[in-house]
Amino acid sequence: MTHLLEIDALSKRFDGVQALDGLSLRVDAGTVTSVIGPNGSGKTSLMNMVTGFYRPDSGAIRFDGREIGGLASARIARLGIGRTFQQIRLFQGLSVRDNVLLGAERRGRRGAAQRAGELLERLGLSHAGRWPAEALPYGHQRRLEIARSLAAEPSLLILDEPAAGMNPSEKRELDALLRDVRGRGVTVLLVEHDMELIMGISDRVIVINAGREIAAGTPASVQADPAVIEAYLGVRHDA
């Protein structure tokens, strides 16, 4: 199997904080790979580096065999990496539909409109197409972010805590959506704290702590790992 994303010995330091400390990981094409870890362990920083929002201090990031570390984020996005933000970043003041249209920006006008319609439908937002984005309830804003990044048709989709603010039934819908996305050949790199979602959907889970990998493997195996329980789960977590 080919590695769609390969990260080698990635490090990043902010004054006083070693956010990432020589982290390496692989994401196989067509899978859902999850990254979990305690708050402040470096997950978002990692995603910021993969998408060009942070510049790595050292280490390599290869996407589809090509080095992308330090490239501008727009370049990286155009190579096929889409993302959502942990702190929701919608285009405030634009309608829900226009937000998605902007995601589909690189497609032709007609195609974009059609695709936006489909995505809104799929994410249950069609009723709100004309609302200003900030009028959506929090959970729906998250969905809108996902719709927007899917509109750009990425081959790798990075989701930073997509389930935050969703209730269990909504999480089930998210789960279904992610399966659907994977089914369409999009690789998903997921950051989450929701164990049910993680355990249900992940093909592989990587656990980091203080910027370093402490465990990796199938959901079941990491869940049973005492180091993971100690650092992250607190108690054995059954799902």
């Binding site: 998408t51 060009g52 929002f53 501008a72 984020s73 727009a74 370049r75 996005a77 155009r78 889409g82 993302r83 933000f85 970043r89 919608l90 285009f91 405030q92 003041g93 634009l94 309608s95 226009d98 249209l101 902007l102 995601g103 920006e105 690189r106 006008r109 200003p132 900030e134 009028a135 972010e145 927007r148 990044s149 750009a152």
Partner: protein, 303 residues
């Protein structure tokens, strides 16, 4: 009619030129950058075109082209380092640029004539030409905003970070818009230079930049027509107030202030419902956000 034209020809010409400068500012506002470079860029366009007219045998269109090109080129040189700056820092860097340009104009006697300026410039700028220029600019912008370009600009204006995540190279977009804006300002300068037969450094200071911003903002943000409305009102009002010789300045300032306070979305917001129907994607229709939710459009924070 003839009489009216005779008495107000220059006012109308100034409305057009100011509208062009307002459009230059509008362009930058449409990518969320507050440019105070107008004065400097207009100076570059004006001096270059006037020098072409005075020192070469080239025809007027060539002088116009030279001014436009010079404005664009200057914007390119300036934009490369300066556009990295965020929000207000960008505004202030462009302010510095405008001031430096003014000082250069005062000091470079042999070329600019210093404080004495340049005179004897052929009066080539005509009303039809000005009107056509404004119309053409408005048309280009309205058409461009309709489609893809409009959406890209809108995303760039609203929030850099997600725009980049969607593959929009906001830096490139801004530079392109700045260069276009520079060309517009350069053209405005060239036209201005050939309007009255004289130019001097004091025509191009910070005041010019601030006025241009007032045109764009006062008319109504979010649409080119705002710049037109703003330029018209701003330019014509002092003339309309000619009757009150001394208190004119007070009246003028008061009207401006009231206009801003009572029409905080710009003069065009008088016809708000109409516009809402017209420009959905270009519109900056903002609903009331719940209090406590600071919804900053710009991405920067100031630690």
């Amino acid at each position: 009619m003839m009489d009216f034209l005779l008495a107000y020809e220059n006012v109308i010409a100034l409305v057009c030129i100011n509208a062009i400068l307002g459009i230059g500012v509008y362009l930058m506002l449409s990518v969320n950058r507050f440019s105070l470079a107008t004065g400097g860029l207009v100076a570059v366009g004006a001096y270059v075109s006037v020098l072409v007219s005075l020192h070469t045998a080239l025809p007027f269109p060539a002088a116009l082209a030279a001014g436009t090109l010079a404005g664009a080129l200057m914007a390119l040189l300036l934009g490369a380092p300066v556009l990295r700056l965020e929000g207000d820092y960008f505004a202030l860097a462009t302010l510095a640029f405008t001031e430096v340009m003014r000082v250069i104009a005062f000091n470079w006697d042999t070329v600019t004539g210093g404080a004495l300026g340049l005179d004897g410039i052929p009066l080539a700028t005509t009303l039809p030409l000005l009107a056509a220029t404004v119309a053409a600019l408005v048309a280009v912008i309205v058409i461009a905003r309709r489609g893809r370009t409009g959406r890209v600009l809108e995303a760039t204006r609203l929030d850099d970070m997600p725009a980049q995540a969607l593959g929009i190279d906001v830096a490139r977009v801004r530079l392109a818009v700045f260069v276009f804006s520079g060309a517009v300002c350069g053209l405005g300068g060239a036209l201005l230079g050939h309007l009255n037969g004289f130019i001097g450094p004091n025509d191009f200071g910070l005041q010019r930049s601030l006025d241009a911003i007032a045109y764009a903002v006062l008319g109504g943000l979010g649409h080119v027509s705002g710049a037109l409305a703003g330029a018209t009102i701003f330019t014509a009002l002092p003339e309309a107030l000619r009757f009150s010789a001394q208190a004119r300045e007070i009246v003028m300032a008061t009207i401006l202030l009231l206009a801003v306070v009572f029409l905080p979305r710009g003069m065009l917001s008088i016809g708000q419902p109409l516009r809402g129907a017209l420009g959905r994607i270009s519109g900056s229709t903002r609903r009331a956000a719940p209090a406590g939710e600071a919804a900053p459009i710009n991405t920067e924070v100031r630690p």
